[in-house]
């Protein structure tokens, strides 16, 4: 399978003259793996090469990237802010699977209001709380998808 993935990757990187629309899926956790950071760097490189990214979908542990309560020391990488900047600069939708997010304590204002004991929420714009059907819609409108 690794061979298969590297072939997919290889075709994409080397075929520089064929501009593509790419969907990104993040299933790696925000902090405990390099996946979410690699995704960010990959998207930046993709755009620099002239390709377009039609959306990022956060699923499984990837939803923790959207936790607005992440607080890092001032001299550490602020990954959350990097994602905010990316979405703002390039108008890329950042879609978060609501079910996977709620399981992991990443809650939108709307969902927090369903529970009177919950006083705060941590899933805010530019991250959007969406159903998993949005992933299918995103994949149907791209040439390739890459998972991190």
């Amino acid at each position: 399978m690794l061979k298969h993935l590297s072939e997919r990757w290889g075709v994409f990187v080397l075929g520089g003259s064929n501009l593509a629309t790419i969907s990104i899926i993040v299933t790696s956790p925000a902090l405990d793996s390099q996946g979410a950071y690699s995704a960010l760097r990959f998207i930046q490189a993709t755009i620099e090469k002239g390709h377009s990214v039609n959306g990022v979908f956060f699923y499984q542990a990837g939803v923790t990237v959207a936790n607005g309560f992440q607080t890092v020391l001032s001299d550490e990488l602020a990954l959350y802010e990097k994602w905010q900047d990316l979405a703002q600069q390039h108008k890329i939708p950042l879609q978060v699977c609501v079910t996977a997010a709620n399981r992991r304590g990443v809650i939108s204002h709307e969902d927090a209001q369903q529970d009177k004991n919950r006083h705060d929420h941590n899933l805010v714009s530019p991250f959007q709380s969406v159903g998993i059907g949005e992933l299918v819609a995103m994949l149907n409108e791209s040439d390739k998808s890459i998972q991190f």
Binding site: H4, E7, I25, Q60, A61, V136, L139, S145
Partner: protein
């Protein structure tokens, strides 16, 4: 129509991978996607009889039985992963196609999108 391959690679109750894979398969099928499901590496353990109540988990594998009603009929299991774990087709709770590594790579390359859940 786009085709989607979903690869299950982890044991049934390692985190939420099993449940979230089933959720994704059924949702994608509902939205008209042609979905194939692959069980590779420790993912083959998801196809054994499970007692999820023992570890206070939901019985997500029950949904495998519903796949055919969602027109998810392409279910593949990696032969090498099975034999490495001392398992065979008769141990599995649903009907699947056992494939060798070459066939696995060939099948995956025929899908537009591949998602691996582990």
């Amino acid at each position: 129509m786009n085709t989607l391959a979903i690869i299950n690679r982890s044991t049934p109750f390692k985190g939420q991978a099993g449940q979230e894979s089933v959720d994704l398969v059924l949702a994608a099928a509902t939205f008209g996607q042609q979905v194939s499901v692959f069980f590779v590496d420790d993912g083959v353990f998801q196809l054994l009889t499970q007692s999820p109540a023992e570890v206070e988990q939901k019985h997500f594998a029950k949904s495998f039985g519903a796949f055919e009603f969602y027109d998810v009929e392409s279910i593949y299991v990696c032969q090498k992963s099975l034999s490495q774990r001392g398992l065979s087709k008769s141990d599995l709770i649903i009907e699947t196609e056992i494939v060798d590594e070459n066939r696995l790579n060939q099948l995956l390359s025929q899908h537009h999108n591949v998602l691996s859940l582990s």
